[in-house]
């Protein structure tokens, strides 16, 4: 296992200041992510406008929306909130409990609403 006790990346600790060169690097990364987020949003909107719900392509589009959203979320958290630069222990303390709860909640929500939907279709006026 990778050792976590080495302070490899301490660049956001209080005692640290970035140099001008580091600043240039970070800004480059920010611009890249900005372009990526904008392009993904534009693709999402275009798909939303041109592909209607209920068509044969819709399920693919729906899942691609979810995947694109997760990609956007990853870049916002990893780069803008620079969780990607934090230590591994902090990353896991934040991500794991959240993921665990939400996957569980999603499972319950989807299972239950499936069931309710069946009953609703059966008895709807």
């Amino acid at each position: 296992m990778e050792r976590d006790d080495l302070i490899v990346n301490d660049s956001y600790a209080l005692n640290n200041t970035h140099s001008e060169e580091q600043g240039v690097e970070i800004r480059k990364k920010i611009i890249k992510v900005t372009v990526l987020l904008s392009v993904i949003t534009a693709i999402e909107v275009a798909l939303g406008i041109f592909i209607k719900q209920g068509t044969t392509l819709w399920p693919v589009v729906k899942w691609s929306f979810i995947v694109m959203t997760l990609i956007k979320a990853f870049y916002i958290v990893a780069v803008f909130m620079h969780l990607g630069d934090e230590r591994k222990s902090l990353r896991y303390v934040i991500i794991l409990p959240y993921a665990l709860f939400i996957l569980y909640l999603l499972f319950i929500g989807i299972t239950e609403s499936n069931h309710i939907n069946e009953i609703w279709l059966q008895y709807k006026p």
Partner: protein, 282 residues
């Protein structure tokens, strides 16, 4: 930093106290924990929304059919306005991360410039949301229901102090969306309108013209709760902005407060990314 980067610290020393095992300050760690709990709240709301959306498949309205207007224009522009809102928030998130970056270089002017843009972006988003709410509440000319549950959509809006007979070109659309859709005009339409049981226009907490009542409730609660976060984010940003102007952080020697409010601001953007997908797109 250079010396620390190569220095191995024994785990027991690390956890035994003296320094943070996470290598972050107390304040930043607590901001993260707060964001996790807030993320759980929003996820709970969105899962609840998904639950209702899924349980009512078929009766639930589709985002692009509800949100298609632009201020000052009368055409059909599905999703364009909300895409604009999303873009405003993403850009304000970018200016915030640039403010944080400037803070790391102790560049006062940069922090002030980018934080100012972030605040402006926040106000733009809040204004857009106010317009969208007002548009959602006001709605289209709406529909009427009859004693036999028939539903007719109005072609023209009836102003507050007028009746259907006063409106030129007043008409009703019967069986809207099906193959026997037809338009009723003139005196017949007015007489049907007079016999209505209920006129549903726009949205409120109990009924809306778009779909099940829960649709309106979820719209108000989720976008409202998010809008409240944006509002408090703008207020916090303004407070930090004033502190930067007063030179508090320059004297303190670090700009970590900018970074912490930055975390909150990015989180608000992150939530909107999910609201955009699950409320408007799917």
């Amino acid at each position: 930093m250079a010396s620390e980067a190569t220095q191995a610290v024994d785990s027991s020393t690390l956890w035994g106290g003296g320094r943070s095992p996470f290598s972050v300050s107390y304040g930043k760690m607590m901001m993260w924990f707060f964001l996790v709990s807030d993320a759980l709240t929003f996820s709970g709301l969105l899962v609840a929304y998904g639950y209702a959306r899924h349980a009512y498949t078929g009766a639930w309205p589709i985002g692009e059919e509800v949100f298609y207007s632009l201020p000052g224009l009368s055409g059909h522009y599905p999703l364009i306005y909300v895409a604009l809102m999303t873009f405003i928030l993403i850009i304000s998130s970018v200016t915030m991360v640039l403010a944080v970056e400037a803070g790391h270089r102790k560049d006062d002017k940069g922090v002030i410039k980018w934080l100012a843009w972030t605040i402006i972006g926040g106000f733009f988003f809040l204004g857009s949301q106010a317009w969208e709410w007002s548009h959602f509440i006001h709605g289209t000319p709406g529909y009427i229901t009859m004693a036999d549950n028939a539903k007719y959509w109005l072609t023209e809006e009836i102003p507050n102090n007028k009746t259907a007979a006063d409106v030129a070109n007043f008409g009703l659309i019967a069986n809207k969306g099906s193959e026997n859709e037809r338009v009723i005009e003139g005196a017949e339409a007015v007489s049907i309108y007079e016999d209505k049981v209920m006129h549903v226009q726009g949205a409120n907490m109990t009924i809306n013209e778009y779909g099940p009542p829960q649709y309106g409730n979820f719209f108000f609660f989720i976008t409202g709760f998010h809008g409240f976060h944006v509002f408090s984010g703008v207020v916090i940003n303004i407070i930090i902005f004033i502190q930067v102007l007063k030179g508090v952080y320059r004297r303190r020697g670090h700009y970590e407060m900018v970074e912490k409010t930055g975390l909150y601001w990015h989180f608000v953007d992150l939530v909107w990314v999910f609201v955009f997908t699950f409320f408007y797109l799917i």
